[in-house]
C-alpha cells in the first residue's frame, strides 16, 4: 500500500495548459476516482502519474519517493487501458506474463505467478487462447490480470469499463470493488460515468478545465457540493440550477436536486407544465416547464404518470436546497 502525492502539477501541450497546478494526496489503500467532463484533463492526470506524459512542472511522489522523472516501469504502477491494450499476437498466458518475461524472471516463477493471477480472476481455462477469442469482459479481466501480476504499489485504471455493455459494467464494478478489498492496494480510476464514481470510490476528485473542483467522499460531494459545477456533475438526473435572483434568493446560484423536490398542491413554491415524462419503473422523472426558470426536473414515485401538458405544483424539501455564493 502506497500513497500518491501530487504537488502543484502542471502539464501543457504547446500553448494549451491541460493540467493547471494540481495538489492532491491519495492515501495508501484508497480507491480514488477522477471524474469530470470530456477534456477536463482527468486522463492526462492519470497518464502523468503513470509516466506516459512528462510533467511540465510540479512533482509526483509515490510511496514517498519522487518519481516525477522516473520511467513508467520504475514507478511501481500498473495500468489498465480503456481498449484493454492486450497484445493480439500473444496468448492470455503470455499477455499476463509479458512484464515478468521482460524483467527476465525465471520461467517457473512466471508460470506460478501467471497462474495465481489467472486463478484469482477465473481465467485459468482461457490461458492458452488469444485475445481475439475472448469476450469483452474476459479481455478486461486479462488486462487486470496483467496489472495484478506485476504486484504494483498503485493500480491505474483509464475508463476500463466504458467499452462494456451495461449489465457487464455493473458486474465488473462489483468485481473491481472486490478486487480492491482483497488486494488492499491503492487504486486510481478515471471515468466520466458518475455512477461508477459514486459506487466504487473512497474518494472522488472532480476535475474541471485542468483544475480540481472538489475532493471528497461520494456522499460529501452529493450532500455538500462546493460549486455549481460539482453539484451539476454528481447525481443523476443532474441538479436543477438557477440564477439566485430568478428564484428570489440572495445567492448567485440556487440548486435543488430532482429527488429533493416534491409534487404538491398545497401552496407550492413553483408551478410548471409537464413537458416530458420518463417512467423508469422504480421512479418517474418528470420534466417541467416553469415560467421564468425554464426546465425543472423532478424525481417522483414510480406510480406517478401525469399527462403531458398538465399543471403541477412543486416545492423543495426543507434543508436540501443548495445556495452557491
Amino acid at each position: 500500500m502506497s500513497s500518491v502525492v501530487l504537488s502543484d502539477l502542471c502539464k501543457s501541450f504547446g500553448a494549451i495548459d491541460v493540467i493547471r497546478g494540481v495538489d492532491l494526496v491519495i492515501e495508501p489503500g484508497e480507491f480514488c476516482v477522477f471524474v469530470g467532463p470530456s477534456g477536463c484533463g482527468k486522463s492526462t492526470l492519470l497518464r502523468l502519474i503513470a509516466g506516459l506524459e512528462e510533467a511540465t512542472s510540479g512533482t509526483i511522489r509515490i510511496d514517498g519517493k519522487d518519481v516525477t522523472d522516473a520511467e513508467p516501469s520504475a514507478r511501481g504502477i500498473a495500468m489498465v487501458f480503456q481498449n484493454y491494450a492486450l497484445y493480439p499476437h500473444l496468448t492470455v498466458r503470455d499477455n499476463i506474463g509479458f512484464g515478468l518475461s521482460l524483467a527476465r524472471r525465471p520461467k517457473a516463477e512466471i508460470r506460478a505467478r501467471v497462474e495465481a493471477a489467472a486463478e484469482a480472476l477465473q481465467l485459468t481455462h482461457l490461458l492458452d487462447r488469444k485475445p481475439k477469442e475472448l469476450s469483452g469482459g474476459q479481455r478486461q479481466r486479462v488486462a487486470i490480470g496483467r496489472a495484478i501480476v506485476r504486484d504494483p504499489k498503485v493500480f491505474l485504471f483509464d475508463e476500463p469499463l466504458s467499452n462494456l455493455d451495461a449489465a457487464l459494467r455493473a458486474q465488473m464494478r462489483i468485481e473491481l470493488s472486490d478486487l480492491h478489498r482483497k488486494l488492499g492496494a491503492t487504486m486510481i480510476y478515471v471515468t466520466h460515468d458518475q455512477v461508477e464514481a459514486m459506487t466504487m470510490a473512497d474518494k472522488i476528485v472532480v476535475l474541471n478545465g485542468g483544475r480540481i473542483e472538489q475532493v471528497g467522499s461520494p456522499i460529501t460531494l452529493y450532500d455538500t457540493p462546493a460549486s455549481p459545477f460539482v453539484a451539476g456533475f454528481i447525481g443523476s438526473p443532474r441538479m436543477n440550477l438557477y440564477d439566485g435572483r430568478a428564484v428570489g434568493e440572495s445567492c448567485a446560484t440556487y440548486g435543488i436536486r430532482p429527488e429533493h423536490l416534491k409534487l404538491t398542491d398545497m401552496a407550492p413554491r413553483w408551478r410548471g407544465t409537464v413537458r416530458h415524462v420518463e417512467r423508469l419503473g422504480a421512479d418517474t422523472v418528470i420534466h417541467l416547464d416553469v415560467p421564468d426558470l425554464g426546465d425543472m426536473v423532478v424525481r417522483a414515485d414510480g406510480d406517478r404518470n401525469p399527462p403531458i401538458g398538465s399543471m403541477l405544483g412543486i416545492s423543495p424539501l426543507p434543508g436540501r436546497e443548495h445556495r452557491f455564493p
Binding site: 506516459l52 516501469s73 495500468m79 487501458f81 491494450a85 497484445y87 499476437h89 512484464g99 485475445p131 496483467r146
Partner: protein
Amino acid sequence: MIFILPFVYILLMAVKTKQEAALFLFAWPSEWRAWENLVEVVQTRNYMLLLAYFNSTVITLGAVTLLVIFGAMVGYVLQRRRSPWNRVVYVFLLIGLMVPPAVVPTIWVLQNLGLFKTIHGMILIQVAYGLSFAVLLYRSFIASIPRALDEAAIIDGARPWQVFFRVILPLLKPVTVTLIVVQSVAIFNDFTNPLYYLPGRENVTVQLTLFNFQSQFQSQYNLLFMNILLVTIPPLLVFVFCNRQIVAGMTSGGVKG
C-alpha cells in the same frame, strides 16, 4: 489465358531441338529434348546459371531483409513520434517514389564509395529503390495499431527496441509477407539494375544469363526458353505458396486488441 498461353509457349519451346525452336511455331515438339536442354543450359559457360542463382538469391535475401527491418523501423518512428522532421522525411519518401533514378550519377557515387561491381553495392541499390514504398506501406499499417499497445508495453517495462521487436513487429506480419513477396519477386526478376550496376562475369544474375544464348550471329532459342523457364520458377513458387497471405496482407485492416 493471357498468362497461361505464353507460359505454355515457353514450355513447348524449351523442350524442342534447336532447329525446330528457330521456327517459332506454337506446335507440339517432334522430338522431346527437355533433359538435354536442361543440362546444356546449366552447364553453359562453366555453370554460369548456378552462380547467377546464387548471386540473385544473395541480393534478394539481403535486400528484402534490410527493406523489412528498415522499412518497419522508419515507418514506426514516423508514425509514432511527433516531430517537425517528419514532414521533411515524408517529402524525401515521396521524392524516392516519384523521381526516376539517374544511372550515371549513381554509378559515380558507387565508384567513389568502392561499391561499384559488388554484390553489397547492388543490395544497397535495391534497398534504396524499394525503401520509400516499404516505409509508406508500414507507416499506414502501423497507424492502425493502437498506441495503447506501445504504452502497455512501456508500463510492462519494455525498452523502446523491445516495444518494436516484441510487440509491433509481430503484428506487422501480414504486411511483411506482402512486402517480402512483392519485393523479392521484383528484385529476383530485376534485369536493368544488375545490368547497369553489376557488370562482370562473376557478378552475373539470373536475368542476365539470358544473354548467353542470344548473340549477333547465333541464337539458340530452345536453350534460351529453357533458361527463361528455369528463371521463372522461383518467383512462381513464391506466388503459389504465398498467394493467400498476400491477399490477406493487402486486405487486412487494423489490429484488434
